[in-house]
Symmetry: D2
Subunit: 407 residues, 4 copies
């Protein structure tokens, strides 16, 4: 960024850092690292344009936050400058804990360690090392701030995170179904009794947003080829972890190997080391390792890595009904026979499970509509449109993941 | 891509592979490798959106070639289907030899080995291994085809390569000055006596194209921060090569190390190995190595790598006049004193030279305008616009590259 | 157009007339007249950008038809050149019978005379005067052509008419909710057993299209201010017709007055005169007349015209339930008292009725989805998405139209 | 607009009226009248999309003014709210005096009465009738305000008027050569010693803006067909004025006829009547009159009007050299013979003259560049680019306007 405070963005034109705190955060290596992490993981295999980084998304979401804050101020909502900056800091950092390839490699480290875990740890680290300037931002992020709408702007069913990523992912993939009228939507935001609401005339924009989100799930986020590549990446990580835990040696950057050897969520005393290693690890480490491991002495790791590099991806079948267990076992047996591997090892090549596409969860953080008479209703109640109610249902699909030749 | 023959593109909407040859080429690892090479090298440090790959550009240029061929056919120019496919193959492969970070690391290997060298070698390799199906494409690429306009579409001052990269780089950086009315321009293309010409009414579009190109040079391709980062990358490569040639050990992927150890352009018998290594090397190898080398035992390599990772970039001063040699020497002495390095080693931190911005070379591959009376004129003659003539002059600027504290 | 065969269009870039027949049609005064008729009637009162003409829409729809025909040909569907041209002619002329301000003033002439009536009459006239060159186009328009998909492209629930107008109206109003991924949609079109179908992977695009259509109804086509202005325009026409039939003299262009005096659909012998008058009447005649009539000696006509010119529009209340008749009568009485008019005359100031918003009619011209197994299903059956089914229901709203002071 | 304070705009998304004064101005009939005046006169004959109104342009320029004012305030320039509103009012009204079809019919009324004359008269009228609330706006408009940069934003070589119209005309015509990076340009604006300046890094954007302006002149504003249509419209007005002054009766709206009968700029006592008539006259009156006059008893008027309606336009030849007088006389003689008209009357069918395309006037209201060292230079001095200097020269072309058959 070279100390520029105005940053070019393909979507919004210009993004401004309107407070030194934001500039300093952006300069921090933990944030700069997001330059080297692709927002959409392996989706660029299907959508060649989708190489955009987590950093670009974080900046975009921050830009939207600035816009919303200005709009709310114009409507008479009092948001002091430092609080506005804290909200911007919270959204700039909201995904700072993502690992390589975003969601695809969330579980580099053993135990149930999500990117939110790392995000919190990094926020605390940044706060501690800067004399507490991020305390209010952390409160907003955690939902502990006295102005609840700020948290809702960071994380709810209609937050600036979603607004930016739908736009951005749509823009870079070229999938126009995801385009969202973000400028219209944020113009219609308001605050009522401390809660984020949307003015009644914005109800159609919300509806379009919900559909756009659902369509982006089908077409991009849960695209079968993307799912297949991401399953494969996870299997590579799992196999590498298994080999390392068995004493096998693997080449790779020190930080990556340290993380892969980690058995569970960090104990208090190990947190510092782990954080350092995690902060040094990005997409490049992983791909470079995969290229090295494609010549591994372990046949399974070698095969998985070669498959990824040559885009020889498994097929993913999506069905409404669960696949018959007997069918799955039959496939498993044929894979074991054909590859000469054990039933246990077959999990690297075969999998089942389900994916769920929620356009709207009515049970958590509802979207509220502010009527002209100042009454507030949950959106599916506010709308007379049967179509909207239909969007609240979740759609679950079962997948069967296996090499093409065995399906 | 997963066998899809329609590919989403953020700029053109859809790109179609209209011949199996193009599909097979795209699937080839040498072409797929371009996914992992950023089109604009380090420019994403300044323009966070500019993470687009060489592959996306190659596909885009191929799409424009298809469009132009259809337009020329509509105007009665006979281009047989296989020849059209060869032209598409030629442009799809025109940059296949680019190394990591595109122009930034063109000289990984010793000797004057440009990306064009690698491109030719790869084209020949692909042709040899596929029974000669690319012979016509190579003729077009080399300018040896009986229809000269096809070569001009691949490589001239108004080719589909430039049309796509100006558009694409403008789109992803968000620098709107580079937007080119490509649809209008290609509609105005025609062929006269075998040469590519532009119909008279397209003269304004050509003028805008030439200016857009010049402005993209100033704002993106020769942006001072981008230049600085690219100089730094080259210095890292040079230092690594120097250390390796002196017997120093460096970590890094086998392929990268093999290339860095290479002293000169490949002898005939080594070409195969080198090609294999080159084909395995992409942006990831380099960045992963830089992260490792930032803990090198060599102070110079360590410093250069840390500077890149922390974006502690040298300043680049651009001036019309050459900097005074005495000033440069003064700076050199201060750097040597301060860093405790020799005058010879100071070349990793200090440099001078010049960059040239040509909007139009009137001396090579001119742009021809086809008048309504079927006469053909070089564009600066065809135009009554003094402004256009001014674009033909080149603008040279001298640079002085040094750490900020020493300027 | 001045004999140019390439026309600039803000949405598609360039539109080409690829057959002399289309060029001649475009040059005909009956088609040129569409330049002077606004596509969205009075909507420019709400959306200042929405001044686009019927001609621009007709050209845009013709452009899409050309694109679809090329796509279908690429997929192996045989469409002879003259038939393709006929399909383009049919869509170029599909709205040629629209009167001033499009739908707003459809009933200038007495009797149930829709714009489709005029369109047919004009097509027959054009065909008769050009030796029958439009016979195939008329067959396509009427659904009498042996290739049924051509008619479906002109007029069905997923035709190029709708694709263009949603795009165009969205573009010019700035209401981004109506943007449709037309390029993706037409790429997915195919023909199966003579019927227009959409390939399975296009199902999300269809869904987005259906929602976009519904949202454009709520936000633009049935916007309350637009409805109010259109009701007012109709009342002006009705009052003018009433005055003229009572022998009152009104200024206005000869053609406009002739049409307004007409009592019913034209008898065979009068058709020629009426067609001539209709063909000479456009938006300008009406607005110029309204300005003159705003100084009329008839208080009702004067008031209606002044209200339109000063944008003193009635309020339109939209409700799910029908308004109580007693309420309506109460308002009527107050209007009569206040304005000093009779109950019969109050119809110029007060009205009730309903508007219906259909996103999808499952009962007529269904949208068919072509599965990968070559099976064809109606879209709501093909989709596993409850959301889509919800779009098939129609939404009816009742309106009450009255001066603001009386509500 | 129906009391909405947020207006949809196809270019900027939303335009807000951030002060009641602006809302009241917009509601005023003098401003509303601009809805019915096409910004680009007859250009929609060549560019069917170019039907946008003067009102849309006025709103767009006002929106840009708001943006610039906010940017300048962020940079520490003190602009009190009422002054900002006055600047917005000044630009909202800057073209309020345009007559039908904008520049095409500027001289409806006899004498040298430009649209600026009417604009001033209307501003004074609005100010007088609203207790002087527009006094500051008028000072800004006239260049009499103590903050000179405000006038420069309204009217200089880099004002928001030009920024909006280049963008808007480019957008609606579809001529992409005119696209201007307005967001970038206004971000770079600053004030130095009371004068409007552009920061150094914005110099490329200014250069692109100047070229875009020049190209829009060639492609749109001085397009030969557009020129021809506008000459024809002026001839119609001249002929109508001549006939009326000779006692001939012509149909037409009262206001239009009153204006056409006017012999010279209004005397003080007549100003009120004229203003009323002018304010009632828009595009519709003129086109409706032309349709009536196409059946005139005067052969010249009838022919001119039919030519316009049937787009039977004269050819316009543009040349660097003046056409030979002898050639012009020869054509004149042939026209007189053929049409049976006198040499004096031939001026309605034949004309010569010149058009000038200035990209930049260095002699008036220069564009100033603010260097990093706070020095200010005129742009052609600030730039090292020979290309820019070339843009300062004006290009003059001579035209010969005559029926096609006589050329």
């Amino acid at each position: 960024m070279n100390k520029h405070k105005i940053i070019n963005d393909p979507i919004y034109g210009f993004i401004r850092l309107n407070d030194p705190l934001l500039f300093d955060l952006l300069e921090h290596p933990l944030v700069q690292r997001l330059r080297e992490i692709r927002q959409l993981g392996m989706s660029y295999l299907v959508y060649p344009g989708a190489t955009h980084s987590r950093l670009a998304h974080a900046l975009g979401a921050m830009h939207l936050m600035q816009q919303v804050i200005n709009i709310l101020r114009d409507k008479g909502i009092d948001i002091p400058h430092p609080t506005g900056t804290s909200a911007c800091a919270a959204i700039l950092l909201h995904d700072v804990g993502h690992g390589p390839f975003s969601h695809a490699l969330e579980h580099l480290v053993g135990g149930p360690v999500s990117h939110e875990y790392w995000t919190r740890m990094m926020m605390e680290h940044l706060n501690a090392s800067s004399g507490g300037v991020l305390s209010e931002a952390i409160d907003i992020f955690e939902g502990a701030h006295p102005l609840p709408f700020l948290h809702q702007l960071v994380s709810s069913q209609l937050d600036v995170d979603r607004l930016d990523y739908l736009n951005r992912d749509s823009f870079f993939t070229g999938v126009s179904e995801g385009i969202v009228g973000w400028d219209r939507l944020i113009q219609m935001m308001h605050v009522h009794q401390g809660q984020l609401v949307v003015e009644e005339k914005g109800i159609y924009s919300v509806e379009k947003f919900l559909l756009a989100r659902r369509l982006m799930y089908w077409q991009v986020y849960q695209h079968k080829t993307v799912l297949s590549a991401e399953f494969l990446m996870r299997h590579i990580v799992e196999r590498a972890r298994e080999l390392l835990s068995g004493g096998h040696k693997l080449t790779g950057s020190d930080a990556l190997i340290l993380l892969l050897k980690q058995k569970e969520a960090a104990t208090q005393e190990r947190r510092g080391d782990l954080l350092t290693a995690y902060a040094e690890t990005d997409d490049h480490d992983f791909i470079t390792a995969v290229k090295e491991w494609s010549r591994s002495s372990d046949w399974i790791l070698l095969t998985l890595c070669q498959n990824l590099l040559n885009r020889k991806l498994n097929r993913v079948l999506l069905t409404i009904e669960k696949p018959y267990p007997s069918r799955v076992e039959q496939i498993r047996n044929r894979i074991c026979d054909s590859y000469g591997i054990s039933a246990g090892e077959s999990r690297y090549f075969l999998g089942t499970g389900s994916i769920v596409n929620h356009a709207l969860h009515t049970d958590r953080e509802p979207i509220y509509i502010l009527g002209k008479n100042r009454s507030v209703k949950e959106i599916t109640e506010a709308s007379q449109n049967p179509h909207l109610k239909a969007l609240t249902g979740s759609v679950e699909k079962h997948y069967l993941y296996a090499p093409k030749d065995f399906l």
